[in-house]
Symmetry: C2
Subunit: 189 residues, 2 copies
């Protein structure tokens, strides 16, 4: 799926719709290799990325240590949003965990489209709503679930996570030590 | 400030603009007393609330214990967003900490406006962007700051918090015990 198809299907609920009508801004494609950084710490982000294939991680840094705040799977957007929206230095690093194919667009083109296109605004609103909901869910999980419960839910919702993401990264995402995750996995199996 | 004024000033950046042009959906007003619950756990939320005066809290529940996830101050929106957006039972309780004056609107009217009005879509997008940014900031704070640093930043950004919100609620918001907060306050002063 590409961005225009995403707009048709997800935003407008119109899977068979005419792709020409949703070309509200130009998009570009790129390929990144495993472990390649897409957005650096401190960079002012001027692009938003849509993952066509592969897996990416977003992380923040504390005392030289990375803390993973999200994994992104195909057909979802990934971006250092605060930097993108406010044009402040990015506190987030986005990196490819596997080889990835990415479609992206520029903030400038999006802002231009916002001025005249209802579809562009519906698109921007829909994407941010989805992200906000998943962020609220993660906050809720952190506050109400044990690490074991959070891990069990994660592998139920995203079974591919255990196959494709190294355990030390999953531990970083859950906010626990790799040894704790190994113990949890031993308890479950 | 009311919702239409908020749209003019914050969303459109047009403080002196004509209020008639931003009346994109009907709004209503209500007053709630201190400690009154605006959104109950389990309720399907069909309204979004704009705080004209007073302070509100949003909390989730774990094993019968409330955990405060946000305080809302005047000129901001407060809502059980996941419930509002997805029409699922609310996992959040919104409550007035002081007497409050509130302006609100219905999801149904908003959805109607989204279909034809660019301003409505810009409004929905702007509100959710602001909320998303503050949620990302809170996640970042949780992962990178000590409780003491988080408290110091909080009173710097929102000095009124210490005057108007009971300490046990601030502790719940920071995710620490009231005794730990008392110790932090003693260290600082």
């Amino acid at each position: 799926m590409g961005i225009y198809q995403y707009i048709n299907e997800k935003v407008l609920g119109n899977a068979g719709g005419d792709l020409e009508e949703v070309q509200i801004f130009p998009t570009y494609r790129m390929k990144v290799k495993k472990n390649e950084v897409v957005t650096r710490f401190g960079q002012i982000e001027d692009k938003a990325y849509f993952l066509i294939s592969g897996i990416m991680e977003s992380a923040i840094e504390k005392d030289g240590e990375l803390k993973i705040i999200s994994f992104t799977f195909p057909n979802n957007f990934v971006c250092s949003y605060t930097s993108f929206l406010l044009q402040t230095p990015s506190e987030i690093q986005s990196k490819a965990i596997t080889d990835c194919e990415i479609e992206y667009f520029f903030k400038e083109d999006l802002e231009q489209a916002y001025k005249t296109s209802i579809v562009a605004n519906q698109f921007g609103r829909y994407v941010i709503e989805q992200l906000f909901i998943s962020k609220l869910k993660r906050e809720n999980d952190f506050l109400t679930k044990t690490a074991k419960e959070a891990y069990q839910d994660l592998i139920k919702e995203r079974p591919e996570i255990v196959q494709e993401i190294p355990l030390n990264k999953i531990a970083k995402y859950l906010g626990i030590q790799p040894e704790s995750l190994s113990r949890i996995r031993a308890e479950i199996s």
